[in-house]
Subunit: 115 residues, 2 copies
């Protein structure tokens, strides 16, 4: 068993193309011995966003703090906020955006893509 | 994409053997279209506990509220509290207990055992 303090874990800017103002930390992942599930914490700062993209792995998400926008495949914008959970399905195009002034934070779990 | 309000989801007592005072709700699971990851919210009430057991699937856990005890395979008791994340490995014997007066709440993600 591994126990970690979320506050001790380093948070780093996501340096992928078409990502702006997004910080990420891995709460539990392969370095901890997890073989299947990776639990990541994302902080989308004001004016930040992830890419409008799709991938073969699903996202199981729980909003932790603040509010933000999830853009659906159709372009529809859905306001989400603390106290909500989401499923982004496999290969569903999506984007997370924060047009607000406060950080938008969420947990996003994925299957280990190495599996 | 599915968006759900955590507060709207029904919470039900876990009626398995050797479980006491534990409430569970599925935040995102197969009924929502999730194929791989199930995100459950557990509330262990005062004096409650899960079984001291093991299973082939790992647990990726984030403590949401309060504090509780996780019993390791060796019998060692580890105090955990809000702001911590845990990994329980495949086939590692473990138990969650709440000897305190306030509810102990956590998110516990697993792989869909049907997969």
């Amino acid at each position: 068993m591994i126990v970690k303090n979320n506050g001790d874990m380093p948070e780093a800017p996501v340096k992928e193309e078409k990502v702006k103002n997004v910080l990420m930390k891995i709460l539990i992942g392969p370095d901890d011995g997890s073989h299947n599930i990776i639990m990541r914490h994302f902080k989308v700062l004001s004016e930040g966003h992830s890419p409008f993209h799709s991938h073969p792995h699903e996202h199981v998400v729980k909003i932790e703090k603040g509010k933000g926008i999830v853009v659906r495949e159709t372009g529809e914008e859905v306001l989400v906020s603390q106290g909500q959970s989401l499923l982004i399905e496999e290969n569903e195009t999506h984007q997370f955006k924060n047009p607000f002034s406060e950080p938008f934070e969420f947990i996003c779990t994925i299957l280990n893509p190495e599996k």
